[in-house]
Symmetry: C2
C-alpha cells in the first residue's frame, strides 16, 4: 500500500475503499454460514435534489471497472488483521478475502438515462458478502457522477444546443480524482469540453480554456499595459479568448474594437465579473462579431436569467456550482435474500422489497408513465412499456460494451428530450409520472406483515 | 498515462492535473521572455462560507507533496503536443516542460491554524510560469481539505470534547480520493475516526464502524428475527454497536434491555432515523449504561439542537453534510511580479497587492486583533503580534517537518480555543477582528493608481 503524502488511490487498493462495517458484516455472514446466500441490493434515491425533476444516471463504467478488478493483496489483508478489530472473526473469512473476486450479476440503466425517485439505477445480485462489500464504492461513483451528469443536462437544456458549455471546476472540485470524475460526467451530461488537461487526455478529448487575470496583471506590469498582454497572448494562441475584466471591461472592449478595426481579429472574449447582462450588451455593441464567454459562479439559474435578459453570451464556463454542492443521496438497500423479499421500515426511510424493473411507457416520443414493478413481471401484455434495467455483468464478467462518452451524451440529450416539459422546469419541477405496479404493491404489503413478525 | 476505466489519478500524472490555460499562459510567458521573472501568488478566500466565523487551514501536506514531485514525462508531453493546441508555442516552452521541477519558495500557515477572509493561507514565490502552473492543484487540495477541517472543528466545538465523532461520508463523497482527503481533513479538524478502511490504514489509524440495516434484514430473514441478527453480530464483534432502528427502535431497545438483564452486555447502539431526541431518551431509559450513537444527515446544527434538547447521545456519525455541500472558494492571485506589487480590481473581486503576512495579536490566550500587513513589515515594535505564515519550502525543497495528524488536530483545538466566542457561534458568526496595516493600505492606494494607468 502506498503510504505517501499524496493520498492518491491506486486501482489495486480499491478493495479496501469501503466502510469498515462492510467487512465486519462479511465476517459475521461467513461465521453464520450465510455469506454465499444469493442477495439482491438495489441502488436508488428516495428523493431528488431540490427542484430537480429527474436524474441522469452516470458512473456505471467506473462501477463495472471496480467490480471487474476487485481483490485483496496479502499485504492488505495483513494490515487489516493488524488492526486487531477482527480477532473473533472466523478463519474462513480470511480465506474468503484472499480469494476475492466479484462473481455476481449487475443490472443497470445505461448511463445517460433519465430516472426518478425510488427507481433503481442498478441492482447487484451476488453472494451476500460480496454484494455487501461493494456498497460503498458503487454509491461513491454513481452518486457523484449522476449528480454532475444531471446538472450538465440541466445546463444544456437551459443554455440551448448552440451554447458552448465548458467545465472549469477543477480548482473547486473535491480532490483531483473528483475533478476527473466531474469532467467525465459533465461531458456525459452534455457539456462541450473541460479545462482539466489530465481529464481531457484520459477521456480522449482536447482540453479547453481561455486566459487568467494573472497573465494580464503580470504582462501589464512587465510590458506596460493590458493591450500588450492581449497582443502577447495572441502571438502564441491567435484568436484565443481574451479575458477583459481585469481592470475595466468596457474600456478594454473599446480598445479591442479599435484594434480589430486596425486588422487584429478578436474572435472571442471572456467576462468573469460584474453585471453580465449589461456588460455583454456593451461588449457586443463594440465587438459585434466576437464570441462572448461568461464565467463566475454560474449555474442553470444564472444562465436562464441571462437568456431571459437577452444577454448576448455565446458560451459559459461552469465551475464551482457544477462540481460542488448538495449531493445526490443514493442509497443501496437489500431487497431480496435467497428468494425472500425484504424491506426496511425505519421512519421516513422505507424501501420497496423484491427485485425490480422500471417499465417506461412513451407516447409520441414523450414519457407518459413509469411503472416500478417486479423484475419477474411479464410485460407481454404491454409491449409499449420499455424495461430500463439491462444486464451489464454476468457472473462477474462484463456483458455489455464499453460506451463512448459521445454515445452517453447522445443518450442524455435524447432522455431529456423525452421528458414531459414540466419535469424540465428548473425552478419547480413537477412530480414524475411514476407509479408502483400492482404486483409490487401486493408484495410490499405482504413483506411488511412478515417484517413485523420478524421484529 | 493510464487510460483505463477507473479514472484514477497517478502521482506521476499530477503535472497535467491543471487547467489548460496554466500551460498556454506558460507558453506565452516563455515566448515573451518573462517566464523566469520572480512572481508571488497568494491563496486566500474573499468571503467565508455562510455563517462561518473562521476557517481551519488544511491540505498543505498534499500541496507540498505535489510541488516536490512536479514533472512531466516525455509521453505526457507528446500527448500535449498532439492536441495541436500549442503549434504556435515557442520550442523553448517544450524544453522548459521537459526539465520541469518546482524551484520556488512556499510560505504557509500551518495546518490546523484558524484564518479569516482575505488572509493568505499560502504564498508561492517562484518563477512566473511555475507559480502559474501550480495554481489549480494548490487550490484543489487546500480548498477542499480546509472546508472539511473547518466543519470538523465546528462539529467538535458544538459536540464537546467527550463526544465520539465518526466520519462516515465515503458513500457520498465526491470520488474515492475525495473520501480519503475528507477523512484526513476530518481527523485533522478534530473527529475521532473514519469508517473508510483504506483512508484509515493510509493515515495510520484504525477504521471505525457499526453495522448496517442490511445485516439485520438478511439475518432476520434467514435466521428468524432481529434479535438473532444482533446475537450473530456480537458473536464475532462482541460489544459492537447494534443498529436498532430497522423495524422499531423502541421495541428493539426493550428487548435488548431484557437480554442485558440475562447477561448479554449491550455496550452501544446506533439510531439512524426518527426523532432522535425522543428515541434516545427512551433508549437511555431502557439501557442506562449503553452508549448511544446517532447518524443520518447530521451536521453541527443538528448536534446543537440535540444537545439543547438534552438528547442522551454519546457519539455521532457524520457523512453527507460533512463531506459534500458548498465549498470554500479559495482563490490564488498574483500579488507581486519582479518586485512590482500588483492587484486585480474587477467588480467585487478586488485583491490586495504585495507579499503579505498575518500578524496575530493575543490577549490572555484569545485573539484580539489580526493585522494583515506586508511581509516586509518590521514587527519589532509589536513583539506580541505573532506572524502566522511560515516558510515551508525553500527553492523547491521542503524546509518544514511532516506533521502528524495528531499534531494538526491539537493545533486545531488550540486555534478554536483562542477564538473570541462570537466567532464560534455557528448560527451567525461575528465579523473577524482583522484589519489592514497602514503599510498595506498605502501600498493598495498606490498600486490602484498605477493599475489605472496600465489599463
Amino acid at each position: 500500500m502506498q503510504k505517501n503524502s499524496h493520498l492518491m488511490v491506486q486501482p489495486e487498493e480499491l478493495g479496501l475503499l469501503t466502510d469498515l462495517y462492510q467487512l465486519t458484516m462479511g465476517a459475521c455472514y461467513t461465521g453464520e454460514g450465510v455469506a454465499d446466500r444469493r442477495a439482491s441490493f438495489e441502488l436508488f434515491t428516495r428523493r431528488l435534489p431540490k427542484h430537480y425533476g429527474y436524474l441522469i444516471a452516470a458512473g456505471l463504467e467506473q462501477a463495472i471497472a471496480y467490480l471487474e478488478s476487485l481483490s485483496f493483496s496479502p499485504e492488505q489483508l495483513d494490515m487489516l488483521r493488524q488492526t486487531g478489530l477482527f480477532h473473533n472473526a472466523p478463519d474462513s473469512f480470511w480465506l474468503r478475502l484472499e480469494a476475492t473476486r466479484f462473481t455476481g450479476d449487475i443490472w443497470a440503466v445505461p448511463e445517460g438515462t433519465a430516472v426518478f425517485a425510488n427507481e433503481p439505477l442498478l441492482r447487484v445480485e451476488a453472494p451476500l458478502w460480496q454484494a455487501q462489500l461493494v456498497e460503498t464504492y458503487l454509491l461513491n461513483t454513481i452518486n457523484y457522477q449522476t449528480l454532475i451528469a444531471t446538472r450538465a443536462a440541466r445546463l444544456r437544456d437551459v443554455a440551448g444546443p448552440e451554447a458552448q458549455l465548458l467545465e472549469f471546476g477543477t480548482r473547486r472540485a473535491f480532490s483531483p480524482q473528483g475533478a476527473l470524475w466531474a469532467a467525465r460526467a459533465a461531458l456525459a451530461g452534455g457539456l462541450n469540453a473541460t479545462s482539466n488537461v489530465l481529464a481531457a487526455l484520459k477521456l480522449g478529448h482536447n482540453p479547453s480554456g481561455t486566459m487568467a487575470h494573472a497573465l494580464v496583471m503580470a504582462l501589464a506590469a512587465l510590458e506596460g499595459d493590458e493591450d500588450e498582454a492581449f497582443q502577447a497572448f495572441h502571438r502564441y494562441f491567435p484568436g484565443a479568448p481574451l479575458l477583459i475584466d481585469t481592470y475595466d471591461a468596457v474600456a478594454a472592449a473599446e480598445r479591442l474594437s479599435q484594434a480589430q478595426a486596425q486588422g487584429h481579429p478578436i474572435p472571442a472574449v471572456r467576462l468573469d465579473s460584474g453585471d453580465l447582462v449589461e456588460l455583454s450588451k456593451i461588449v457586443r455593441s463594440h465587438l459585434p462579431d466576437t464570441q462572448i464567454f461568461a464565467s463566475g459562479d454560474l449555474d442553470e439559474y444564472a444562465i436562464a436569467h441571462l437568456r431571459q435578459q437577452h444577454a448576448p453570451i455565446d458560451g459559459y464556463g461552469l465551475g464551482t456550482k457544477l462540481v460542488t454542492g448538495a449531493p445526490v443521496n443514493g442509497v443501496y438497500k437489500l431487497v431480496d435474500i435467497d428468494g425472500i423479499p425484504v424491506m426496511k421500515e425505519a421512519a421516513g426511510k422505507m424501501s420497496y422489497p423484491g427485485k425490480k424493473q422500471i417499465f417506461r411507457q412513451f407516447h409520441q416520443g414523450v414519457i407518459v408513465q413509469d411503472y416500478l414493478g417486479l423484475a419477474s413481471e411479464d410485460n407481454a401484455g404491454h409491449p409499449s412499456r420499455e424495461p430500463l434495467l439491462q444486464q451489464v455483468m454476468n457472473q462477474g464478467q462484463r456483458s455489455s460494451r464499453i460506451e463512448s462518452l459521445e454515445t452517453i451524451a447522445q443518450r442524455t440529450a435524447h432522455s431529456v428530450a423525452c421528458l414531459p416539459a414540466p419535469l424540465r422546469n428548473i425552478h419547480s419541477a413537477a412530480a414524475a409520472p411514476m407509479t408502483i405496479s400492482e404486483a409490487l404493491e401486493n408484495l410490499t404489503q405482504q413483506t411488511r406483515r412478515t417484517a413485523l413478525q420478524a421484529a
